[in-house]
Amino acid sequence: MTGGLAAASWGSGGLYEPVVAILGGSAMVVMAAALLAPSQALAVAAIGLLIAEYLLSLTLAGSGIDPGAVIYGGGLLLAGEMAALSVDRAPPAPKPEAAVSSRRLIALGVALLAGMAAGGAGLATAALPMPGGIAVTMVGVSAAVGILALITRLARSSL
């Protein structure tokens, strides 16, 4: 999965293609190490490297909107979740009951579909021919701050 995501960003880097390839290759190596160790921190680092690779290739690609970002985002979540699952189940951890695994899969599916739908809606909105400006930027910043506030509130109430 990590290899597929890394390879998806190759070919659009031009002069900086080796840098993109190195980032993607590093992500694969770090993910392999995370699964062998097993280590959650290394898995997070591998996902971080994939995001960096994608953003670099995106910056180098030009100004057009990349519709593949929705699938890439879903792929990142799947890769991270699969890595977390492998690390969690590494010996001597007990094998979870089927009901525990199915609850996790259902929650993952819901998150994936909802996230991809939200991401797709965001990209579609960005593709609309709307005038830019400070007002639109402020709306973007407000949305970002709003989501951060929501997550913080949920985190505080759950602890």
Binding site: I65, L77, A84, R103, L154, A155
Partner: protein, 403 residues
């Protein structure tokens, strides 16, 4: 999203959206269920090698929950799995069983038992520990002994040992002339007819002996599975149970960093007192000099037999055993060989040191044997009875040599 604003591109939003959705879902469904958990054992006393079952009961009063249970076990208890991940439905009680193999003697304390409640994606968890701690008293397994050491002296109490003294009993000893006060039923009519005067039978009375088991716990030598102390405790348990079954009075001296003693006594209650005392035996480092004077006099009754179980590694034990032998007690030393727990070094200097160490031990044994104290080496894996028979053989040989 802030990155999207900074870069002026919408893709980072699409990239982050699935992860944000997972985060919101995980935090929104954080575990709020009230979990009730209890743990119980099917028994608190087991014999080494036996099985005990730890039962766990989990229930969620309100909401469904994914629960992980981890049971911390001491090294003396073994199991295939001591952790679980289960799903709890509201109002349904789940029963979990952990089959514990009692691998080593001792007081084995189970716990802490940790219960972790997680959201479905495992992002948020809540953990608590079960307050009550459980313990299993694992008694050392005893070896069946068909023969026991015959004590040199017996005591006044009745028992199963034929005393060398003469009096009333079952075993015939001799005949003697009739004296006023003798019972008529003791008259040996045939002997009286032959000798032309009344003769009475004299018997050996059946008496018991006072036996003190001396367990050295100053130091131990161990490998992965066992140690000299493990062997000593098992041997002490075997000897105590068999001696008490012979109706002897048995006492215990645990001589080590912590001094423990039990004055000789008889019966099942004494057996459990000895076993409970053995369970608390441990090697505690101590540099304090301890001699025979630290023992209460009642722990070593006059004319008692002392069976010492020791690896013969600590000078304090050697000194005390010399004193016990010197005071006229019937002392037998069973040396729990530390040699079988170590392998001979491969390098030249190591091999030389190894040989010197073994020579010194040989000299130590000879020192006791020259004082008339039997010292036999008992190796791990060998039956204890073989060592006891060797002690008897030494006594026979020593008696013949003295004669």
């Amino acid at each position: 999203m802030l990155l999207a604003v900074a870069l002026g591109r919408p893709e980072p939003v699409a990239l982050a959206a699935p992860m944000l959705a997972a985060l919101v879902l995980g935090l929104g469904r954080a575990p709020r269920a009230v979990i009730t958990a209890t743990a119980a054992l099917d028994g608190e006393r087991r014999v080494e090698g036996g099985e005990s079952i730890l039962s766990l009961e989990l229930s969620s009063a309100s909401a469904p929950a994914s629960v992980a249970v981890e049971v911390a076990l001491p090294s003396g208890l073994r199991t295939k799995t001591a952790s679980f991940q289960v799903a709890l439905a509201p109002g349904v009680t789940r029963h979990l069983e952990v089959r514990l193999i009692c691998a080593r003697w001792g007081v084995q304390r189970i716990g802490p038992i940790q219960v972790t409640i997680r959201d479905p994606l495992g992002l948020v968890s809540r953990r608590f520990e079960l307050a009550h701690r459980l313990k299993v008293r694992v008694y050392p397994r005893s070896e069946t002994l068909r023969t026991l050491l015959r004590p040199r002296h017996t005591q006044a109490q009745a028992g199963n040992l034929v005393s060398p003294l003469r009096g009333e009993g079952i075993e015939f000893a001799d005949i003697r002339p009739f004296l006023p006060g003798d019972r008529v039923r003791r008259i040996n009519w045939r002997a009286s007819a032959r000798r032309d005067s009344l003769q009475v039978n004299v018997q050996h009375p059946e008496r018991s002996a006072d036996v003190v088991i001396f367990l050295d716990s100053f130091v131990e030598v161990r490998d992965q599975d066992s140690s000299t102390l493990d062997l000593g405790v098992r041997a002490a348990a075997s000897l105590a149970s068999q001696l008490l079954a012979r109706r002897d009075r048995v006492g215990l001296i645990g001589f080590g960093g912590t001094l423990r003693w039990l004055v000789p006594g008889a019966g099942t209650r004494q057996l459990y007192k000895i076993l409970d005392s053995l369970l608390d035996t441990d090697v505690l480092p101590s540099d304090a000099w301890k001699g025979l004077e630290v023992l209460p006099p009642r722990t070593l009754p006059a004319r008692s037999q002392v069976i010492a179980l020791t690896p013969l590694l600590d000078g304090r034990t050697l000194s005390v055993l010399s004193d016990i032998g010197g005071r006229g007690h019937d002392l037998a030393i069973i040396e729990i060989s530390p040699v079988s727990f170590r392998t001979e070094p491969a390098d030249g200097v190591g091999r030389l040191a190894w040989r010197l160490w073994r020579l010194r031990r040989e000299g130590l044994r000879y020192r006791f044997q020259s004082l008339g104290v039997p010292v036999v080496t008992w190796n791990a894996g060998a039956p204890l009875e073989a060592a006891l028979r060797e002690v008897e053989a030494f006594r026979r040989y020593a008696r013949a040599a003295r004669a």
